[in-house]
């Protein structure tokens, strides 16, 4: 009935009060009623006045009771990309032994996202999912949840902020960018990463086990039959050498424009990596001097995204790239003159 809230709020230990329009109506009407009662001596008016004041007290104590017994726990999502709608589950627990909580609204502090919680029974839990969006990639503390209570009479909006333990790694923003730029590393850099060939799937021949053989290649049936260890010799495959290369070095340090552009570059790299990985193609990543060998799979994808979520720009000469076979395919910021 009186949905509007005023702008200022009063902070108290543990909760805050924001007056609503109903309060101002009450503040104006009650003295008028008191004046009428005092002036006329009509006890029915005194009765009405007492009941109005009693209702005010009742509303305050009940909403405070509800608020005191509510807690909220945020369930972080499996993955979150900057700028993308992200569902967050909120578990609201009502520890009141007798009073259900109704009309409870939860909002994320500092982030978009609000939801009306379904009625939470006494000593019960209700879960609701709200959608938010993280503006930046990187490590974010889980946002605090602001719990708001309005009922039974909406004189005040009472709120408590429940801080959340833990943090969330937000992956870079996904963008619709140009075609991916792939690079390959030199032989020396590839050798530093271990064998350039990888174990193939095709079996070439069976032979007796020699020290150094991979135990995964033991052919157990033949080993049992011949009573000696037999291994499958596989045809080796060349290790793929497709890299997305991001140069962390900026022409100048602490330049807001360059930093913003660097964010765009990170987003482009992340998008290209994701697209390729979803097609089943192996993707490697070069971030300054650090190199992630090409690979596929969920764990590899998560590893790449985590690195891209946390990568930071550096100044000139602070983190040079390794020698590249194709130097033109680098994601790099250069100042136009």
């Amino acid at each position: 009935m009186s949905g509007r809230t005023s702008r200022f709020s009063l902070a108290f230990p543990g909760f805050s009060l924001t007056p609503r329009r109903a309060l101002w109506v009450f503040v104006l009407a009650t003295p008028a009623l008191a004046a009428a009662a005092l002036n006329t001596g009509n006890n029915a008016l005194y009765l009405l006045l007492s009941l109005a004041m009693g209702a005010f007290v009742a509303s305050g104590s009940l909403s405070r009771h509800t608020l005191r017994h509510l807690s909220a726990r945020l369930v972080p999502p499996a993955e979150a990309f900057a700028g993308a709608p992200t569902p967050l589950a909120i578990q609201v627990r009502n520890s009141s032994p007798w009073l259900p909580a109704t009309g409870v609204v939860c909002r994320l502090q500092g982030l978009p996202g609000e939801a009306l919680i379904p009625p939470v029974p006494a000593r019960g839990v209700a879960t609701v999912t709200l959608t938010t969006a993280f503006p930046r990639r990187g490590r974010h503390p889980l946002p605090a949840v602001r719990i708001e209570v309005r009922l039974p009479l909406p004189f005040f909006l009472k709120a408590v902020v429940v801080r959340q333990a833990g943090e969330l790694l937000v992956y870079p923003r996904r963008v619709a960018g140009p075609a991916a730029r792939w690079a390959t590393l030199g032989e020396r850099e590839m050798q530093g990463m271990g064998p350039t060939a990888v174990r193939g799937a095709e079996v070439q021949q069976l032979r007796e086990f020699r020290p150094g053989d991979d135990r995964r290649d033991v052919h157990w049936k033949q080993t049992a039959r011949q009573q000696r260890p037999i291994v499958m010799e596989r045809r080796e495959r060349r290790r793929p050498s497709r890299f997305l290369v991001l140069d962390r070095e900026l022409p100048r340090r602490n330049d807001a424009t360059l930093l913003a552009r660097f964010e765009d570059l990170v987003s482009e790299v992340a998008t290209a990596a994701l697209d390729a990985l979803r097609r089943g193609e192996a993707v490697g990543l070069v971030l300054g001097g650090s190199v992630v060998p090409p690979g596929v799979g969920v764990a590899h994808t998560r590893g790449l995204l985590e690195r891209l979520a946390l990568v930071e720009a550096v100044g000139p000469g602070e983190d040079p790239l390794p020698p590249l076979a194709a130097t033109g395919a680098v994601y790099r910021l250069a100042e136009a003159r």
Partner: protein, 673 residues
């Protein structure tokens, strides 16, 4: 009034139309609820209240949100509203009644479309005005039930609409969600629990009036001066006037509860005047005793408590002695009425010794036969009525019977009564209906026209048992009657028809439930309706006296209060420190504090140095205090689980219990050294 159906259908399909419809229904329902007491209390006439109720019911039953009445229709209705207000009495009955009529009619016009957010506030204000008017003019004990019901409905409506608004704005929730019954019930219970002491404590700076003045009409009640032209419409008021207690266990005849407050002799143009000429000043004796006549052979005694401020002493016809609470000088006029020299606060009591077989008044004089010349036409009329009467008593009896049977009783002053005509003559020859003052006035003047001395008395007649051995006399028991000097003595005559005479309810004939109900009403009347500053001061005085009478008890009581307050504060503090389930951060704090307490204890006993991990704390405790090992292990493991694994926190009580158990198992610090 309801807008076009096409527009309404379009509106119903609009988003939020469900909320608007529900808001409309709640507003109409509240309007119906709030309009209930209006016609019952007389602040609004039945036709107007019925019109409002019909509109409210129609709106409540509507299946779509209604559009407001167009402006041009409102403009057309405005003069009609004014006409209805004027027809319902206008300003003749004071200001409140027309204002209430106006508010109700305007509310009826604005009810359709009131669900629109822009119009809800103004309609709610109108509705509040209507509700306050209805409640303020209510005096019945059912108000105790009505007010919580109204509060429940308001809480339910506001909470429901708030939920609907939130669901519409934020999504989530369910449109079918209702505020829990427990919430509404708790709100009403707490409100009533807070309201009860508040009602007693709010200062009463004016004397209470229970009803009547707010109803906009004149009120039934005792008046020293009878003015037949000015009484207008009379509302029956249940306000308490007197409480009468007779001697122990005595059930009085109804006639004994006829208590006169004023006796009038002089009549001019509808006004019975009381002159101050010839008044005697009486000062009660040392015991507050005031002798009025000879002591009767078989005296009866009653105690009267005057509930409202008054300077009048109400006496039975045969009063011979009055025992007053204080030595206030009194005036006794030549007609026998007693008037205090100053106005006494409500709640004063006095005792009266009286002879029920007699009427004790000063002897008749010339003033008891005075008649205005313009009322000469009464002589032949009286002679005609009393034809055949053998003596004065018979004549008076005939007149009494004639007035009782040939005339009608009404509380409404007839609108067609001309001011140029004497009211008694108009009553006898044209109107043929009126209230008790008309009947009594007519009989006095008719008796005088037959040369029988007569006076008009006003006071109270009858009453109802209060369930506690006494009788409550209300304003509605106010009455006027006649004393005539016949057969060498004064005698009481009451020419008002039976339906106009205030009733006397015998306690003996009442069933038990009725007595219980009377006790409830008595409590309501005594402690709610007529609760006043005097009562507040009296309660405070009694409390003070009780406290002063035993200072030891007072000291004990105060000590008890202090201890109680301290316990309450400590309990509240403990209660507030209690960690509700699910507050991860707070519980984490308590597990951290618990482990830190173990660390400090270990440091104090020099088991460890500074900067140890919880696991190291656990280790040294296990070494030095093996019996506490399990508790310490639990505390440290819980701390780690909550802190690092995001496990659900344990109850704070459990953490404290384990910590206490651990610390209790410690050997004394010296021994350990």
């Amino acid at each position: 009034m309801t807008g076009s159906s096409g527009g309404g259908a379009r509106e119903a399909r609009r988003p939020g139309a469900g909320t608007a419809l529900e808001r409309q229904r709640w507003l109409a329902g509240l309007a119906l609820l709030l309009s209930l007491p209006l016609p019952l209390t007389g602040v609004v006439t039945w036709p107007v209240a019925s019109l409002f109720a019909a509109v409210a019911a129609g709106v409540a039953l509507s299946r779509r949100p209604l559009s407001p009445v167009p402006n041009w229709v409102e403009n057309l209705l405005a003069p009609l509203v004014v006409v209805i207000v004027v027809m319902a009495g206008g300003l003749r009955f004071g200001i409140l009644r027309p204002v209430a009529h106006l508010a109700v009619l305007v509310a009826a016009v604005r009810l359709p479309g009131s669900a629109q957010p822009a119009r809800t506030a103004s309609f709610a204000a109108l509705l509040t005005l209507v509700g306050v008017a209805g409640i303020a003019s209510s005096t019945h004990v059912s108000l105790v039930v009505y007010l919580p019901v109204v509060l429940s409905a308001v809480v339910l409506a506001v909470a429901r609409l708030e939920l609907l608004g939130l669901a519409g704005k934020l999504g989530g929730g369910r449109p079918a969600d209702w505020p829990p019954a427990r919430l509404v019930a708790a709100a009403v219970l707490i409100a009533v629990a807070v309201a009860a002491p508040l009602f007693g404590l709010l200062p009463r700076l004016r004397s209470p009036f229970a009803a009547g003045v707010m109803t906009g009409g004149a009120v039934s009640g005792f008046r020293e001066t009878v003015s037949l032209n000015n009484i207008r419409s009379v509302q029956v008021s249940r306000a308490r006037a007197l409480r009468v207690v007779l001697e122990e266990g005595e059930e009085p005849p109804g006639e004994w509860l006829r208590l006169a407050g004023a006796t009038s002799q002089s009549y001019r143009g509808g006004l019975w005047a009381q002159g101050h000429r010839g008044r005697d000043r009486l000062l009660p004796g040392s015991g507050g005793e005031l002798a009025l006549g000879e002591e009767p052979a078989s005296p009866r005694r009653l105690t009267v408590t005057v509930e409202k401020p008054s300077d009048r002493i109400f006496l039975p016809a045969g009063a011979t002695r009055v025992l007053l609470p204080e030595r206030v000088p009194f005036w006794r006029d030549p007609q026998g009425s007693l008037e205090a020299s100053r106005r006494l606060e409500g709640g004063f009591s006095y005792s009266v010794v009286f002879d029920p077989a007699r009427v004790i008044l000063p002897p008749p004089n010339a003033g008891d036969l005075e008649m205005p010349e313009e009322l000469a036409e009464l002589r032949p009329y009286a002679a005609e009525v009393t034809a055949g009467a053998s003596n004065r008593t018979a004549a008076a009896n005939l007149l009494e019977a004639h007035l009782r049977t040939a005339f009608g009783y009404t509380l409404e002053w007839p609108l067609d009564a001309p001011f140029s005509r004497d009211p008694v003559a108009w009553f006898l020859f044209e109107g043929k209906r009126g209230h008790c003052e008309f009947f009594a006035s007519a009989m006095v003047l008719l008796l005088r026209s037959l040369d029988i001395p007569a006076r008009l008395q006003t006071g109270y007649l009858g009453g109802e048992p209060d369930g506690a051995g006494g009788w409550v006399v209300r304003d509605a028991n106010a009455h006027a009657w006649v004393v005539a000097y016949v057969d060498e003595g004064w005698r009481v005559f009451d020419p008002t028809p039976a339906d106009g005479r205030p009733a006397f309810a015998s306690a003996l004939r009442l069933p038990p439930w009725r007595l219980t109900w009377l006790r409830v009403e008595e409590f309501w009347d005594r402690w709610v309706l007529t609760f006043s500053l005097v009562d507040q001061l009296e309660l405070a005085r009694q409390l003070w006296e009780r406290a002063a009478s035993g200072w030891r008890r007072l000291a004990l009581w105060l000590a008890g209060v202090v201890v109680g307050v301290v316990l309450l504060v400590v309990g509240l503090a403990l209660w507030r420190r209690r960690i509700p389930d699910g507050r991860v951060a707070a519980v984490r704090d308590i597990t951290v504090r618990a482990v830190d307490r173990l660390r400090r204890e270990a440091l104090r006993r020099a088991w460890v140095g500074a900067g140890v991990t919880p696991r190291q704390v656990q280790q040294v405790w296990r070494e030095h205090c093996p019996e506490a090992g399990a508790s310490v292990e639990w505390l440290v493991a819980t701390h780690e689980a909550v802190r690092y694994r995001g496990s659900p926190p344990p109850g704070a009580r459990e953490v404290r219990r384990r910590l206490r158990a651990t610390l209790r198992s410690l050997p004394p610090a010296r021994a350990s050294k």
